[in-house]
């Protein structure tokens, strides 16, 4: 698993990635009430705001940590947005993406680096 500074994670198998937000992120956001997912087939650049997570208090953008094409979205979050809170790094995944350039993963943090990053209070 790799992590971005904006608290997204990506889990990669070959050139296919699954993306979600971290447990730290869902805790900061509070109870999610709606998840606005992208279209399957959408072409994404790194840093694009791809998903919107709505809580009672605010709407939060989720930025893609990698570029590529959206191959699947987690429809389960439509009826059960709380999946994102309860299983942010598992069943609360948001979308799957065919990576354009697996080399992009090198500029992301690994688990240990991410944990250090959030402890640093950023």
């Amino acid at each position: 698993m790799k992590f971005s500074e904006s608290h997204e994670w990506v889990r990669v198998e070959g050139d296919s990635g699954t993306v979600g937000v971290t447990n730290h992120a869902q805790n900061e956001l509070g109870e999610i009430v709606y998840v606005e997912l992208p279209e399957v087939g959408a072409s994404i650049s790194t840093g694009d705001a791809v998903v919107v997570l709505e809580s009672t208090k605010a709407a939060a953008d989720v930025y893609s940590p990698v570029s590529g094409t959206v191959t699947a979205v987690n429809d389960g979050t439509q009826d059960e947005p709380e999946l994102v809170n309860n299983a942010a790094e598992g069943n609360g995944w948001l979308f799957k993406i065919q990576l354009n350039n697996p080399g992009e993963l090198d500029s992301l943090m690994d688990q240990a680096q991410y944990e250090g990053f959030i402890k640093g209070g950023r």
Binding site: Y34, T56, A59
Partner: protein
Amino acid sequence: MKTALYEEHENLGAQIVDFCGWQMPLKYEGVIAEHMAVRNNVGIFDVSHMGRVEVEGPQAEEFLNYLSTNIISGKKDFSATYTVWADETGGSVDDVIIFRIDAERFFVVVNAGNRDKDLAHMKQHAANFDVRIRDRFQEEGILAVQGEKAEELVKGIFPGAEDLGFMCFMPVEWGGAQFYLAKAGYTGSPGFELYVPNTVIAQLWNTFLGEGKAYGIQPVGLAARDTLRLEMGFALYGHELSDSIAPNESVASWAVKLKKDKFLGKDALAKKAEASDKRKQYGVLLLDKGVAREGYSVLKDGEVIGTVTSGTQSPCLQQGIAIVLVQASLKAGDQVEIQIRQRLVKAEVVKLPFWKAEK
């Protein structure tokens, strides 16, 4: 700035945020959990960032009646009245609650963000009346205890609370201090507010939490305070009321009594009431997924007619709700659209409140 209960909030694990310069608890367990605790059981709020101002003297009643767009004169002793204060241009200065002890002794509870402004406003106009203004900002805090079971809890600590009518208050003594207990609140669930000296407020907060365990009490933060008041369609200054939104353009227009004798802002408000392009606020229920937020555009038949002043997902209704300020005359059942980023989401005008207690 911190209230006298700041350490209590830290100990309870609250997420602290800045609100108008105050370090306040946004939430403890979670917004929806706290919201439902109030609706189903009882919740306790620290609202000490709001303020109490004493107004006393031979012309206290006349003075407060002059400042207010609602009728203040002639009310009963130990009753409380909600009102919006307007300025000469018809803008809203603040919405406040005025408590009458007797014809010459009142106190006013004002919003946190407007404490200094309201005090200056009062002092400026008090120059023309035989009246003394004394704020209790440094000495006191304010607690709100709200919910289905609030009365059971409160009467156990303050006997006689069960006899208080809505918007009535009484003097109480506790912990060696004397203060006031009111049957009032901002949540729409039955409840009380207490205006408590800082010398005993932490003790009282913890007493409520202890005695309240049997009723499922939870501490409630500012985020749930907002979802609760929004379910009732209550105005929040800075959203539904401001210096550019007149009281009679807002959801609080029911409290504006234009026929009153001379009061501050009367002429400007009368002009607004007669204008052909006047604005009004309505409650809307979203018919599709989405959360409307302040500033989003509101459309009817493809034309922008106004904006959202407040919006959220209602925990009780599990639907999006919003208050909109529009230049249009609408009625319950009318359909509008809210621009939520890329989507136009259908919404229906409804009579407020969005949520009602089951009898």
